[in-house]
């Protein structure tokens, strides 16, 4: 389905569900200044929907985390979930973070989400408008019109999409999609694994040293929903407001990845929002790959009552020395 067709169906359904009283609010995406800067927003009336609601290739933001707060409010809220978002939503249900009865979930198809950073990386700047024409994006800029291959503009997570399927929904727009094979998704992790320890160290130091500890990755992450994060809690003994040195840079990212291990749905939001373009998803994906390889394939958010692999075990699990015994590095 094309985005304009999906959007038309979403708008129609949102109005119907508001009108028949199934829901009293709609969470979706709101148009911005430049066609790429949409903001998640809650709409309460058909007029508000008409004025600002949008769904297109720039609606990458995962709205599932907002439902923690929204589902506590009176009435039911309609949410539109892309496949990625629905995995996150389901994981949050597993962790009892969302009141399911207060949410009406409509699964929507996703044809891949563009990342404006990738358009800029292609040397296109001064972007004032973007439209899709078949497999190309036509970008109008202050300095003339440019065009680029749609795929070139897609976010990394969409280039190796994990699934077009919605593990949870009340209804669907369009046909249900399928899981994608995982090989492409782990290729970059596998490449890093084949490097020597020195190379890996240099790679990660290079990446993590750019971290400014703005917490965007954490705060946008649908798995990071702690009432009070250990890094904000002075009583935890590890709270930090800024990384004072390279150790603290690593510490933050190791602990964050560990805390979401087995719960991360690989929605890729952490990497999308990083102002320093640190490939944070490669940390989370490493845990996913390890878990799959060591404890059997597991997908956080696939089943609502699943036990995550870190709170589970089998008697025959590999010993930690398996890490030491891996190919020489």
């Amino acid at each position: 389905m094309r985005y304009d067709e999906i959007f038309a169906a979403m708008l129609k359904r949102a109005k119907e569900l508001l009108a028949d009283g199934t829901v009293n609010r709609v969470i979706g995406w709101k148009r911005g200044e430049f066609s790429y800067d949409v903001t998640p927003a809650v709409f309460e009336t058909p007029e508000e929907l008409d004025a600002g609601f949008v769904y297109d290739a720039f609606c990458g933001a995962n709205v599932s985390k907002y439902l923690i707060r929204e589902s506590e409010k009176p009435g039911r809220i309609l949410c539109f979930l892309k496949p990625c978002d629905s995995f996150s939503f389901n994981q949050l249900l597993t962790e009892h973070r969302i009141r399911r009865e207060n949410v009406y979930a409509v699964g929507i198809p996703c044809e891949g989400m563009a990342d404006v950073k990738r358009i800029r990386a292609a040397g296109i700047d001064g972007i004032t408008g973007i439209r899709e024409e078949g497999e190309r994006f036509i970008v109008s800029t202050l300095y003339g019109e440019e065009s680029m291959d749609r795929r070139e503009a897609l976010a990394e997570r969409c280039l190796c999409c994990k699934s077009k399927r919605h593990p949870v929904f009340d209804e669907l727009i369009g046909d249900e999609g399928e899981d994608a094979p995982d090989d492409a998704r782990f290729a970059e992790v596998a490449r890093l694994e084949t490097m020597t320890a020195e190379e890996r160290f240099d790679f990660w130091r290079g990446e993590l040293s750019r971290c400014i500890r703005c917490n965007a990755c954490r705060n946008v992450c649908p798995a990071c929903t702690c009432e009070n994060c250990v890094f904000d809690n002075p009583a935890s003994g590890i709270s930090q407001k800024a990384a004072a040195d390279s150790f603290e840079e690593s510490m933050y990212h190791i602990i964050r990845a560990f805390h979401v291990a087995g719960r991360c749905t690989d929605c890729g939001e952490c990497s999308r929002v990083c102002p320093e373009n640190i490939p944070l998803h490669l940390l989370n994906r490493k845990f996913i790959k390890d878990i799959d390889e060591l404890y059997g394939a597991y997908r956080a958010g696939d089943k609502a009552d699943a036990r995550n692999p870190l709170v589970n075990f089998t008697e025959g699990d590999a010993e930690a020395r398996i890490v030491h015994e891996r190919g020489k590095a």
Partner: protein, 164 residues
């Protein structure tokens, strides 16, 4: 007996031991006068599953060169299942440290029962030798906390504000 390299490097080693098996195993190696390096210092925890990955990082931050965790053999946990969770957590943590390019041999998990005084001493000896061979922890160190860095005048670029 401290393991020293020619350079005189004496690593700092933290050993977390569960109260029921490994701590008792350590006591037994003492009772049997089986020596192991003095730079290994033991912290008693009720169960290996009490050990948070944060404790490992904390030890490295504060100057440890190696951290080892010892617990009951799988299936023998005093709390039935604790060490099974430990095993998964530590496997994943070690794998992540390895992925970040930190020497994988700086961390270890070893199952030592209350009867294995000999094994405890041998494990500590081999671990201490391994860490001594690896040299000081640099990749996961907090320079502010390292005595040697201060003495050598090494500072991290961060904090000085001289680089961004």
């Amino acid at each position: 007996m401290q393991v020293k390299e020619a350079t005189g490097f004496v690593p700092t080693i933290v050993a977390f031991c569960c109260n029921w098996c490994s701590y008792a195993g350590a006591d037994l190696s003492g009772t049997n006068r089986l020596s192991y390096p003095a730079n290994v210092k033991i912290i008693r925890v009720p169960c290996s599953c009490r050990v948070n990955p944060i404790f490992f990082l904390r030890a490295f931050q504060r100057g440890a060169d190696g951290v080892i965790l010892c617990g009951c053999h799988p299936g023998d946990c005093h709390y039935t299942t604790g060490n099974y969770y430990t095993r998964r957590r530590m496997t994943l943590l070690f794998s992540m440290l390895d992925y970040l390019g930190i020497e994988r041999n700086r961390t270890r998990v070893e199952w030592v029962s209350a009867a294995e005084g000999q094994k405890f001493a041998e494990t500590m000896r081999s671990f201490a030798e391994e860490i001594a061979a690896l040299g000081p922890n640099r990749r996961l160190a907090d320079l502010r906390c390292r005595k040697d860095a201060e003495e050598a005048g090494i500072t991290d670029e961060r904090g000085s504000g001289d680089a961004v």
